[in-house]
Symmetry: C2
Subunit: 212 residues, 2 copies
């Protein structure tokens, strides 16, 4: 419980709001609030409104379900990208991570979660129906599954695989293996096992690993 | 530089605002913003307005300069507290820290900083004149200096000491010594030296260290 002696209820209210954010304790929250208090009114207004505007005006791309400022996101509306390859990810952070590699030129499909009976998330809660529609359209050649290698991720992968099996689409999954720069002796057995099973042609490693 | 691929300018703007807070990197900022985005509109409005209201409506106690919701803060307006003892601190966090000990029943005076030629903070930038006025009023019996034991803290202590010397007021400073629970061999020499010089009567340690 909070037994701190706040000199002001306004200060306490703002500190409590920050302390409600993940990974922010009450001490850090107070530090952040006091920092904001020292800023100019205009800066505090900018901070405050940036959050409110994000919540009010943010949209989701009607095609890939990624966060977007427009009806169709930048990636889906980019004619230079390969629309015949769709990478399936759990959330928008994964899209950002893959985009940051600059290695992928296809488009995305954000599921909005993964199947998790423990959290009460079933296939019906995810954007799977719209993925099937896209594939049924016949223009998609490859689906790249890029979900976490957890029980939930594997379950979701398998569910999607079963749903899309009947269409003429290649279903791939991102490579799992020893990280670049890692020493073999520190890799876990499952990862190392997958690395050996899914070994690739040595020549393919010349091109900086650029698969696309 | 930021080379991340944000799917939305609104998201990027909000993330940048959070990343501007002390100790918050861009990854953490994004995590916090995505957390807020998942909350209800009402919660986001509450978060956003708590900061704005704090900045707009916060006041400083006209007597002790502590943050306050009212003209005179709760501590200064508390008739049960001993108004003849004033504890001089650097900022409002120090007031909270001392209040949290539940050991002090006097009132405070917040300087709003310490003398630091490096940061360009001179005595004129601090609430020292109003402290002298209070002491000149003749009702104050003791001034407890509770500043950091840094060069700046010592300079400020000495400056205040010189200013108040001419009045009939006892000027004390908080005890410096080995922390409760610390082993002697790990204490630094200066601290241990002060602990020995400023040794107290053993009987005084019975009462849980309660000086007031």
């Amino acid at each position: 419980m909070n037994t701190d002696h706040y000199p002001s209820r306004l200060l306490e209210a703002a500190t409590s709001e920050f302390a409600g954010l993940p990974g922010i304790g009450r001490k850090t929250a107070l530090r952040l609030v006091l920092h904001l208090l020292k800023q100019d009114m205009a800066d505090v207004e900018k901070f405050s409104s940036s959050i409110l505007r994000l919540k009010k005006d943010i949209r989701h791309c009607s095609s890939c379900h990624n966060i977007s400022d427009t009806e169709i996101c930048n990636i889906c509306s980019d004619t230079k990208r390969d629309h015949s390859i769709i990478c399936v990810v759990e959330n928008i952070k994964d899209v950002m991570s893959i985009e940051n590699t600059n290695q992928y030129t296809g488009i995305y499909h954000v599921l909005g979660g993964i199947i998790s009976p423990m959290d009460g998330t079933g296939p019906g809660d995810l954007n799977i129906a719209s993925l099937e529609e896209k594939v049924a359209g016949g223009k998609v050649q490859e689906i790249v599954l890029a979900l976490s290698t957890t029980m939930e991720g594997d379950t979701t992968n398998f569910y999607i695989y079963r749903k899309l099996q009947k269409y003429s689409v290649t279903i791939t999954t991102i490579a799992r293996g020893v990280s670049v720069g890692d020493e073999l002796e520190y890799a876990d057995e499952v990862t190392l096992g997958r690395s050996i099973t899914n070994r690739t042609l040595f020549e393919a490693s010349f091109n900086n690993g650029k698969a696309y």
